[in-house]
Amino acid sequence: MQRFSGLSLLRRGLGGQRGWQPQWRHPDPKPAYDALIIGGGGHGLGTAYYLASEHRLTNVAVLEKGWIGGGNTGRNTTIIRSNYLFPESAALYDHAVKLWEGLSQVLNYNVMFSQRGVLMLAHTVHDVQVAKRHVHANRAAGVDNEWLTPPEARAFCPLLNIGDIRYPVRGAALQRRGGTARHDAVAWGYARAADALGVDIIENCEVTGIRRNTVGAVEAVETTRGTIRAPRVGVAAAGHTSVILKMADVELPLESYPLQALVSEPVKPVFPCVVMSNTIHAYISQSDKGELVIGAGTDAYTSYTQRGGPHITSHALEAICELFPMFRRMRMLRCWGGIVDVTPDRSPIIGKTGVPGLYVNCGWGTGGFKATPGSAHVFAWTIARDEPHPLNAPFTLERFRDGNLIDEAAAAAVAH
């Protein structure tokens, strides 16, 4: 791997940018590996990287049906935060935030992690009570979160209209360690670092079947590029997890919904932080390219189409225009949808499946990007040791049978 440094950039810059090598190889699949990861998004690539770097499992391949980072990793609004209500969730998401803080150095790849602060607005008495409860629970769990009055919220985000609107801003919870990262760079950085450790990244390779041996354990994966044998298979396929696991006769409590996002035309830096409103359902930040990145809610119905209804995005834009009147004349450049796998309690499932050798990391719903490094780190541990890391031990599939839900759905009262 060619390491990036000031000196290497200068040297190749002076040499007319010649001599750069591809960031990762494009190998043909080998007949067998020690472990396979299905899904070449941030979670899958990160899992392969941590398998190689922390568990010395380098004979690993990542199978991606399209191109890496072309699924939800490249479709989300890149918000990173860890201010979840329950101790299990706060610990898992804060593990991710701590890994984000050092990720560019660890990967030698700039993921542009920017801790610009995430402001979550409260518009009703109920919102205020819920947000303050989150603030206190987070502080007790060692996660930063603070309560701002409406004038303090406007001081933090001067564009915010706290006054004369249908749902006035009654306060906000601020997580200063939260922020954004460059989504593509996360996929590329993990791919490059995993490749350098010997991991094969196999694109345009769709999984069509999972083969099990006589005792029911995973034996091989059938793909559009041939059969690949492996005793351990980890699935990180986001919205398509149900489809993949059906091939091994595993049913999961997941429903796949379209989630839409959109960006505006690029403008000069105007927006200093991330603002989220669960109640009127809008999320906004500004990318380093200058586009306003806006997230909407999920569509009402399950779907695999990667598109949704325009009334969902216009609803989000109406909320944005109320909160930030100066954006009323902005033009939107692109909108798109991704398919998110939602669990009944809106918490992920990370662990074993009941089929020996088959592991699953799914159910991140509408908010998986923020967890990418933490999710990948504990999933690699689970695959390498055949037992969950202490942080993902509560996030089992069995919790639905046993009634041990981690009910962030009820805590947030919306998808989040």
């Binding site: 489809v243 059906k246 049913e251 409590p253 009402a300 399950t302 189409t305 009944p344």
Partner: protein, 97 residues
């Protein structure tokens, strides 16, 4: 935006409707007699297939009635809508598109 053919009112735009999840999910008759697995299956496990999906809709801002629909989740195209109590027309739910 979907155009949904309510069996009582005809084609109407999606915002008039509320989605009601997978259709034909039967509640166990005596919940105390089923195992934890069966109860979890009833509460949480849904079809979520890529293909033909049988689902409930309610025409909230119209006749107010529930009905069922077959929709292809890989294209969002409605194949049929039918009244509660009627058997799903072919193609059968769960079949490929």
């Amino acid at each position: 935006m979907l155009l949904i053919d309510c069996p009582y009112c005809g084609e109407r735009p999606e915002p008039e409707f509320v989605y009601g999840g997978q259709a034909h999910v039967a509640r166990p008759r005596v919940p105390a007699e089923v195992s934890a697995e069966e109860w979890a299956h009833y509460l949480y496990l849904r079809d979520n297939s890529r293909g033909v999906h049988a689902e409930r809709w309610r025409h909230t801002h119209g006749c107010g009635r529930f009905f069922n629909a077959l929709r292809d989740t890989s294209s969002d195209q409605f194949l049929a809508t039918y009244k509660v109590g009627e058997a799903p027309p072919s193609p059968a739910p769960g079949s490929p598109p």
